[in-house]
Symmetry: C2
Subunit: 410 residues, 2 copies
Amino acid sequence: MMSLAALVAARDAGKATPDLMVALCRDAIAREDGAVKAFAHVAEDPVITSSGPLAGIAIGVKDIFDSFDQPTAYGSLAYAAHQPAVDAAIIDMARRRGATIIGKTATTEFAFFHPAETVNPHNPAHTPGGSSSGSAAAIAAGMIPAAIGTQTGGSVVRPASFCGVAGYKPSFRLLPATGMKHFAPSLDTVGLFAASVSDVALLAELLTGRDLSAASVDPAKIRIGLYRCSELETADPEMRDALDRAADNAAEAGFDVGEIAEPEAMAQARQAHSIIQDHEAGLVCGPDLARFRDQMSPRLIEAIERGQAIAPATYDEARRHAKRGRAAARLLFGEVDILLTPSAPGAAPSGLETTGDPRFNKLWTLMGTPALNIPGFTAANGLPLGIQAVARFGQDKALLSTAARLETLF
Amino acid sequence: MMSLAALVAARDAGKATPDLMVALCRDAIAREDGAVKAFAHVAEDPVITSSGPLAGIAIGVKDIFDSFDQPTAYGSLAYAAHQPAVDAAIIDMARRRGATIIGKTATTEFAFFHPAETVNPHNPAHTPGGSSSGSAAAIAAGMIPAAIGTQTGGSVVRPASFCGVAGYKPSFRLLPATGMKHFAPSLDTVGLFAASVSDVALLAELLTGRDLSAASVDPAKIRIGLYRCSELETADPEMRDALDRAADNAAEAGFDVGEIAEPEAMAQARQAHSIIQDHEAGLVCGPDLARFRDQMSPRLIEAIERGQAIAPATYDEARRHAKRGRAAARLLFGEVDILLTPSAPGAAPSGLETTGDPRFNKLWTLMGTPALNIPGFTAANGLPLGIQAVARFGQDKALLSTAARLETLF
């Protein structure tokens, strides 16, 4: 697949019509998706618009977002025939800017852990990650140039890492979440996928009308910190090696690179993530459990019931830990501009029963800070290894710009 | 209608069964609602539960919350026949604690300003306020002991004031909003109605399992501030007089009462409310506009389009003002425990074309602080005048306890 930037340039130069651009994606889906299974649904006769910054751009949308013209199953048997009346806000935003919603991409059940059928395009015996499994795999397989997903624990950055694409979790609430199937509303964050960091930055700009495209950076003015969290020693050796090489390459390119210890308040906040997620899931998925228990996986039922058993006072205490963690993060980003940390413990695990572990992502979802997978490294078995970059809340453009430069060095 | 506390006591003493308690409410609705029009839908055969802290308590729920067993129209022609698959989280929470969802209460269109048919039970020529019109009116007319509503500008506190009941807007996110028809997600706050402050506190406790019921307070240890915002001089003279009497009565009862000037950052935050509300409405109601324009009121269409025209940078600037306002509010609540301010500019306006003005409420919705209407004063025309009490974020129990005491003094 051509890059998003190349497609936009071809369109603007009159070399490719929106119709042709969407047809290319439909052909690629017809050719590739039988094996990858990235799509839960492909639009039969998608609307193609000739105006707008995203005209001709085919976007795959994780199937936990409502769409009025395509079924919306939330990865769940209970919603197999569900047809919402209106689009989610992010889909409407994309359409208003000219995009074609080419299909709904596969997700784990309710964007939790029970996997979809999607495989990793780099090796079908391995998971693509989750929960935005289909969005990441569809990009990696070259079927589409742009996709939308969500992250509550690590569901954008982790599948992007496993599939070797760029996955961008913006600052909390930068993209609207209304019309998504919520799991934990104070964590659920809408994110974007594209083949490269510069492409995902361009996508963010064209989709939102915000100044987010990657700009040139002066490495000497940017302080990069290798984030020494306690989880680091639990990462695979080849992931730790990739992180070290990322730091070395950045230093060679002139960035100001150092090590940053994890503040105690942030380590404590990481522990609070699960309590917050579970309690909120107990509230917001409780109505589904009441109606559709017999169509839910045991793992999802267990999670919702675990959440319902968490006392409000325990939840409140976890939220206070999160608040203190955010205050510590603000201080930390006075010392450093960009943090680097693994996107996942290692490359995609083999087997399709698990979608991998979000242990390197949960903290940043809870902090609300922008985070992004920079693809570029490769494990011995040929699978991708991604490096996660994180910046201060609201510093999305700085993150995207620096990460786009780092990507060229990996 | 008996108070919520009396109903619960009668039930616990074996003097009233849940069946009887719900039947009393159904009778009251059959008798009163033809004139008041508080209900958008009354359940034909509502589920009555014999266990749980809310067993036998009939709750009316604002019809912007999804319910699987009752139609859910969001006050909108476009959704006249809408039937969601599952309950909103707050409805499921109520059912799990034994409540009976006796019906859906009337709301303005999408909880914005286009009014429902509901009238003020104190005088049918006057508005009940909005947007939680039916919830406030159903309580005021004695049809039910408890109701659920929402506030994005002033839609809990204002109708409670106009109808002479207690309306409680909790700290932001204390009650779950998932499954409501959102208008501006960072402002949309779920709230509660009951006949008195002590009843609404009991409702909050029984519904959530949190320690929220009104406790006895020591007036000498509680600093009450009369909030001298610039809007105060725009209030009706009889509302200003009611506020002065409220302060005098509190001082006589031994509370430490003084005046508090409005910090500049909070005055600026108030101005930011409309930009935040409009921009978010443009995003989250954009999908409805795209599909259902011809079934929407001109005023709603205009609001959504106005929101869509607000640039992201303008919205971000408004959010920064809100953030600075919240920091100022935290400092303010170091000097004072409870603020008193009008719940509305005056008593309910005559006519049903308008639901009144939220100018005294918007700031507190944006701040995320708990706020509550204390009923008790009366205008010359016999309509209620409410006093709004506000406390620091998270200090919901202190607010409810102090307000319950103040209510006995008004």
